[in-house]
Symmetry: C2
Subunit: 420 residues, 2 copies
């Protein structure tokens, strides 16, 4: 299990202050089970690692096996919660099998063109992921790639389209039914940003050769462990700490990792927290950074700039690969004192040195530490943050499960586009 | 030339307020030419598009031509300002020739391993970029790749190493001299984050087949245009606006683009502004977003969250590619009203709709609009932001050209590593 370390908050918030948050956290946690609480129609994710549809899960595994057998490329079409979770898993964990390309998450012709070139002359399939089927970005991309698939395979194209959508209604569900596409369900009670452990995330993840039963297992372990209703629960500690920090004027949370391939964890977290908490004029602004890379860009600001930020650092000891620093005869760079040491040792010292420097500078850190990043650990990480986010939003006093502000630009856009 | 549009700030700051900033902006602009101003030793970038070393420039072009002729991969080694500018240009503009891989910008064994695999069985060269040669990340990466190069080419390896470093001193300069590597200069009066138009950026950029004379030409046009000392100067307007916004509590600047391949513009800007302004407890926090992608993640927060941010949107009309939205017989997604329209039209409407929505929501936008993104436009863009940043830092009352805070984590790290 991950280890939470709040010792780098010392001098900013105390253990007593954290402990004093227990009644607030308890009440907020209870709201996730309260049918009268705001957003209570969207808490299906809370028990999802146990209460998922077992038959559908088996169908997902079967579909993934078919894709892995008959496709060199899987074009996954979705935006926001319909791609961030899957993409995170596929970047963080080792994968094999078909190349998985994400489209429909921008309005960039270049992005479409790139993937059009990738599928040329290949065997490929589509997983289109949209609750309604009406979101512009994925709908346009689906038109383009459905056209290509039909040109290549004729009627057999219908056997290569997998639709993840509403169980009964909407444009995509209708299309799937009338064309006989295999379809999977975006559950009614699970919002997009909480949907990585539903068919939304699971089919592309399984197509990448990741064991989704293990992913659910890791999440289930977390579900059981983090349901504990006292301050020994790391979720409670994290939630208490970040709300205390926010009340002290720390209005930016910088999610930091030390491995470039983990950068999508930050992207997933930005949606999770930003959409859940950023409303009613409130909420911590979620940003992300890759260390040590960004210590040479944002590092100066973090160390000495405006004192309105804290860090949540996800540090992984074993990232699946290590390299020994070579010995150099000329020692021109004076690094021979490190010769033979693993690069991970230098990274660990950079991590420790950074925590201390930023604490000294008034940019305190929450630390989440994992022994290694494997599929169970990722399942646990997903659940840890989902639960933290749900509870945290209730402490903030918002509905953590709606996103009314996302419609504003769309409404303007549709008017400008002249949608009938 | 780019067009600056401040109309989306209406209701937050007025044209009168902007005009009233003229004396402050004028004084700050003059400081760039004042030998008594803080950081006056590091303003070589101001006249660089004209006053660069022409002989070295010709050598850069010649070295790039050699790399393009004899290498399938160029391993560019550098961190912070020693990679961000070059990588931005290479992602934003169309390139050809050798694949250019960046290493030494993290402590990730996975990243090194990936590039080690890329060079296997290929012809390749190294451009190592470090003022001192002593920065840990690039120094470690250089050890690893220098070793590989020597194993592959023996003594001829020395003809495949290009060192961009101090003109006279430091570990890397000594190594370059004693091994006969061709070397290029990191100018003494140009800090890393302002160095893209020096050899630091130019050699990798030229190796990608980009016309660096045109890049300098675009920057030179900008240098001449933006030296104008009144409020008709877009640089002055931008600088006035962002400082007024900051004083009103807009403490986050979100740099937004509408094309995924432009995301490194945001990374380059984060270093430029973060390192220049983030000091003495002051400075706007620089963040970045890709639209419309992140409208489905950060969009809710921008629309309705804490009102402490503004956007600087870089919008490009012609991104070099377009796609017509296909007609669909079944019109299952109800998008036939867009059939035949270019995707760029939808993007433009999304852009307009978003500007209006965010203005309504209290998240105002500065808009920088470019007809097309080509090498001259990029040169102009680089210079526009460098000049804006230098002037803006002086208005903030900091030394825009130092970065004392970057040393804090390194000092701790070296102690932990037991450096002799």
């Amino acid at each position: 299990m991950l280890k939470l370390d709040l010792s780098k908050l010392e001098g900013v918030i105390s253990q007593d202050q954290i402990n004093a948050m227990a009644p607030e956290v308890e009440a907020a946690h209870a709201k996730l089970y309260d049918p009268a609480a705001p957003g209570s129609d969207f808490v299906g994710w809370v028990r999802l690692p146990e209460d998922y549809d077992k038959d559908e899960f088996a169908r997902i595994q079967k579909a993934a096996a078919k894709i892995r057998q008959d496709s060199q490329v899987l074009v996954a079409i979705g935006i926001g919660g319909s791609y961030l979770g899957a993409r995170t898993a596929l970047e963080v964990l080792p994968i094999d099998g078909p190349e998985i390309c994400f489209v429909g998450c921008s309005l960039s012709p270049n992005e479409l063109q790139k993937v059009i070139k990738k599928v040329e002359g290949k065997d490929w399939s589509i997983n289109v992921i949209s609750k309604s089927g009406g979101t512009t970005e994925p709908a346009v991309a689906f038109r383009v790639f459905r056209d290509l698939l039909v040109k290549q395979y004729g009627e057999d194209a219908d056997k290569r389209i997998y639709a993840t959508t509403d169980k009964a209604r909407g444009a995509l569900k209708s299309l799937a039914d009338s064309n006989g596409w295999e379809s999977f369900v975006v559950p009614d009670d699970v919002g997009g940003r909480f949907s990585v452990l539903s068919a939304v995330g699971l089919l592309p993840i399984a197509a990448g050769g990741i064991d989704i039963a293990e992913l659910m297992g890791g999440a289930r372990d977390a579900m059981n462990a983090y349901d504990k209703r006292d301050m020994s629960n790391p979720v409670w500690q994290y939630v208490a700490a970040r709300n205390l920090l926010y009340r002290q004027g720390k209005k930016i949370e910088l999610f930091c990792t030390y491995e470039p391939s983990y950068s999508f964890i930050g992207e997933w977290l930005k949606q999770l927290f930003g959409e859940s908490e950023g409303k009613d004029g409130k909420g911590i602004f979620p940003a992300s950074a890759q260390f040590t890379t960004d210590l040479h860009s944002l590092g100066q600001y973090i160390q000495d700039g405006e004192r309105h930020l804290f860090e949540t650092v996800i540090y992984v000891d074993d990232t699946g690969c290590d390299i020994a620093i070579p010995y150099s005869d000329d020692n021109g760079d004076n690094l021979n004192y490190l010769a033979g040491k693993p690069l991970s040792f230098v990274r660990e010292m950079a991590f420790q040195g950074t925590l201390a420097a930023h604490q000294d500078g008034g940019a305190p850190s929450v630390v989440l530490r994992l022994d290694k990043m494997d599929v169970r650990a990722l399942g646990e990480l997903f659940y840890f943050f989902e639960l933290s986010c749900g509870i945290s939003g209730h402490i903030l006093g918002v509905n953590p499960f709606n996103q009314p502000g996302v419609e504003a630009y769309k409404k303007n856009m549709f008017a400008l586009l002249g949608r009938p």
